[in-house]
């Protein structure tokens, strides 16, 4: 009997020790269990909401609650929730909201405003929401706005910083592609070609996009035979999956097989 009493006491002590966890630790524990369920499922969103009830300043959980709505086309539910995350931790999530404005809403101006805000939130640091510098994202936004001058300027800033700090092979390869497109649109074909060459250099010479744009330039320059060879290669690259695309949404300036086929037909 005495032993049994000791056992119960030990269990009680263990439970009371557990209950001494801070609010954040308890919220994190609930959150970690909740995200075992598929994103957006009833149990997942309920658990994440519970975590935010335990600690309303737990920004990761507050943000995560917005994500399923973002991916499912429910902007009126995504926006208030992501705004709450930004209230909790602006330096962490404002750039991230900009990234979402860019890709899920194609609202380039709102995206730029959020990326610009990160400059003042973290003045001594270049933020990198979703793994890329805000300068890279701003380059894409300005390309979307057809403001090629600013697009090139931000890609220059991003690429030069990356080269200086880590080396050219660390540059996100689509930065060369997009900077090339911006030059292409301003009819600066020499600079455009240099960028498409860089894209190919760092993609093991496999990029339907770079070859397609190069072929377009060659056509303008009257180099039809070279354009024909390139467009055949571009079609081949496309067919084996080497073209610019992204998950969830269409990427900016995404090319399609019919674009390539139409161009080839026009060359003949």
């Amino acid at each position: 009997m005495e032993r049994l009493l000791k056992l119960f006491l030990s269990i009680a002590v263990a439970f009371s020790a557990l209950s001494c966890d801070s609010k954040r630790e308890r919220a994190e524990a609930v959150y970690k269990r909740a995200i075992h369920y598929p994103q957006g499922s009833m149990m997942s969103i309920n658990g994440i909401k519970r975590a935010t009830e335990i600690d309303s300043t737990y920004d990761e959980a507050v943000r995560e609650l917005s994500v399923a709505y973002l991916k499912r086309g429910l902007p009126h539910k995504w926006k208030p929730q992501i705004d709450k995350a930004i209230e909790c931790a602006p330096s962490l999530w404002q750039g991230y909201r900009g990234y979402n404005y860019l890709w899920f809403y194609r609202d380039y101006k709102k995206a730029i405003a959020d990326f610009d805000a990160t400059d003042s939130l973290t003045p001594n640091f270049i933020d990198a929401p979703q793994g890329h510098s805000v300068d890279y994202w701003r380059g894409i936004c300005y390309l979307g706005l057809k403001d090629y001058k600013n697009s090139i300027a931000y890609f220059d800033k991003y690429i030069n910083t990356e080269i200086e700090e880590s080396g050219e092979d660390w540059v996100e390869v689509t930065a060369f592609l997009y900077r090339g497109i911006a030059y292409f649109e301003t009819e600066n074909y020499d600079q455009a070609l240099l960028n498409f060459e860089k894209q190919l250099q760092y993609s093991r010479n496999q990029s339907a996009d770079a070859k397609y744009y190069k072929a377009l330039i060659f056509k303008f320059q009257g180099r039809i035979k070279e354009a024909m060879v390139l467009i055949e290669e571009a079609i081949n690259d496309y067919n084996i999956g080497y073209y610019n695309n992204r998950p969830y949404v269409e990427t900016l300036r995404q090319i399609y097989p019919e674009d390539l086929d139409a161009f080839r037909s026009n060359l003949k």
Binding site: G40, S41, R50, G73, P75, Y105, R106
Partner: protein, 183 residues
């Protein structure tokens, strides 16, 4: 006497095992169910749920597996009929801006079933600041008709099988003009 004692010990052991298993199951249920329920206004459905009772064009629409409906992005290729580019061209050619002044996102959510048929539609109307609004009825009808009548949606393929999936098309509209089709 000795046999009785053995049975008694076995009974105690068995009892303890049953209690332990019961506690384990109860603890697991608490941890992965009850403890995850919010105290205020718990969600009654998944985030993507579309109520079949109130959905548009749900009569005669069948999903192949009501218990498992995937998301459009579970496979790499977007499920638009004949690809996104051709879908965009189809919409842009057919849509007529009848002097609409509306701006915002007209989002149409629905299910693409495992046979590529679409149904169970719901429409969300938001302004460019992503706040609920109301679009011109004629504009809304036009885009709903074009979207729901498009044929050839691609079912999501998972584990080498065609699956039902949730899909949405978001029309970004500025002064009545479609400026983007997302995703």
């Amino acid at each position: 006497m000795r046999t009785k004692k053995v049975f008694k010990i076995l009974g105690i052991i068995l009892g303890l095992i049953v209690i332990t298993i019961g506690c384990f199951i109860g603890y697991g249920y608490y941890m992965f169910n009850s403890s995850l329920m919010p105290e205020h206004e718990p969600f009654e459905h998944a985030s993507h749920y579309i109520d079949p009772e109130t959905a548009l064009l749900n009569e005669n629409f069948k999903v192949c597996d009501e218990n498992y409906i995937a998301q459009y992005y579970n496979t790499q290729e977007l499920p638009y009929p004949n690809g996104k580019n051709r879908f965009r061209n189809y919409i842009n050619l057919a849509y007529v801006n009848n002097n609409y002044s509306d701006s915002g996102y007209l989002n149409i959510r629905f299910i693409v079933n495992c046979e590529g048929e679409v149904g169970r539609f719901v429409i969300h109307e938001n302004n460019l600041d992503l706040e609920p609004t109301t679009f011109n009825e004629n504009l809304k009808k036009q885009l709903f008709k074009l979207t729901s009548e498009a044929k050839g949606w691609k079912p999501t393929v998972l584990w080498e099988e065609n699956r039902d999936s949730y899909m949405y098309v978001s029309y970004r509209i500025e002064n009545g003009e479609i400026t983007e089709i997302i995703p």
